[in-house]
Amino acid sequence: MLRSLRITGFRDFERLSVERLARVNLFVGGNNSGKTSLLEAVEILLGCGDIHALVAGSLRRQETMEVHPDGRRQYTHEEVAICHLFRGHKLVPASNFRLEGDDGEPRRVEVGVAPRDGEPRPPGLYVHSNRSAEPLSQLALGPDGTLAYVPQSRSRDSPFAEQKDGYNFITTAGVGVGPLVRLWDEVVLSPDEALVLDALRIIEPRIARIAAVDREVSSGAFMLLMQGSRSRTPLGSMGDGIRRLFALAICLVRSAGGTLLIDEIDTGLHHSVMVKMWKLVVETAQRLDVQVFATTHSLDCLDALAELYQTQPTIQDSVLLHRVEKGRDHTTIYTADELPVIAESRLEVRGAR
């Protein structure tokens, strides 16, 4: 579990220090303050500079161009405009960024342009990680400074950037039905199925079973059987946002012992289910040893976390709220016991002072 984080020269951050991290970390801030970039920095740091982690954010942001050498028919790879990872959106010989964290031991990834001025080799990126089997790797760049990348199968529509390294990323678009069915297929009849059900019962204690029944119809893809009932209920009929909560439950379970990054955690959720959502996230993260990094713009989302603290003060050490401000070199940190005060006093913690 990361205890602190330092970002230097990555995307719009000249320097950002997050001095403390908890099990569940919620980041707020104005538009373009860098909340999503912060999640991407964690992703690259945990990916030890692996190319899939390096370009995952660029793919999500569509800072890419599909390449079809054979007219429009044959898709071969993406050209990733890697310059956007660096401050100023430019690749110059001095361009580099550094991500550092502490999970008991120092963890560091540094990415820069190689070779430097005057060296004869073709331009490329060097990626240095103190946790990788290969501490220093080089990636060739095209003449226009793009990185050729062949997406892994599934990665274009998967909610996850990369699963094998112990971290998962849920985007603002959430998880579509197709990827959700595939995720469910991965957990069904495994020990994880019971964990997903346990997590979902935090929201609806009467859930007995879940099944994917019709893979062609998006609204009816999942059915629930409630305890004491003889007929099955479509997941979609359970109310707004239940699919998002189902996806959260699966992703939390799939992140056991690792990290879950969630951009705009409140997307698609009515304020009435926010407290249950936080209960699901915090309790499951505690139980399955998951560290959560989430962002939000929503005041309802903050109020719900405050409400959860008031009913469960034991989450005090598990939750931190961070405000990210453009141009400020560290996050402002609020502890869980301050959340009810913030909600009651209508303090605007999300924006600039």
Partner: protein, 129 residues
């Protein structure tokens, strides 16, 4: 008259009496919360005078307000011995990593900490006691 809770400045007071005493005092000095003509140009400068409803809740508001607002002031009743009051204020500042001396300094105390640009001034009546 409406108080602007979105103001970047907050003045924390213990109760409703203090809230209105401050608002009327400010009005006598030209900061009239009820006068639209005065308010409009000065709105950004007028603090949200917040009735915290108790001294305990006022002290709980010190940390979150200091981390959020541009300027924060607090007004506490002088109904406790100065040293007890000082201990309460110290406790609230300590929770946001602001270190203050064990005893208030004669002529007022200035503390700093937590954020580089923070300065905290505290004036207690009879603080030399």
């Amino acid at each position: 008259m409406s108080l602007n809770e979105k103001s970047p400045h907050r003045l924390l007071v213990e109760g409703r009496d203090d809230q209105w005493a401050i608002i009327n005092l400010l009005a006598r000095h030209g900061f009239d919360f009820g006068d639209e003509k005065t308010r409009r140009p000065a709105q950004e400068r007028l603090p949200f005078v917040m009735d915290c409803k108790s001294v305990e809740r006022l002290l709980a508001n010190v940390g979150p307000s200091a981390k959020t607002c541009r300027r924060v002031g607090l007004i506490l009743d002088a109904d406790h011995p100065p040293y007890d009051r000082w201990a309460q204020i110290r406790g609230a500042l300590d929770r946001i990593d602001v270190r203050s001396p064990e005893r208030p300094e004669a002529g007022g105390t200035i503390a700093s900490g937590c954020e580089d640009d923070w300065k905290i001034g505290i004036c207690l009546p009879g603080e030399q006691a």
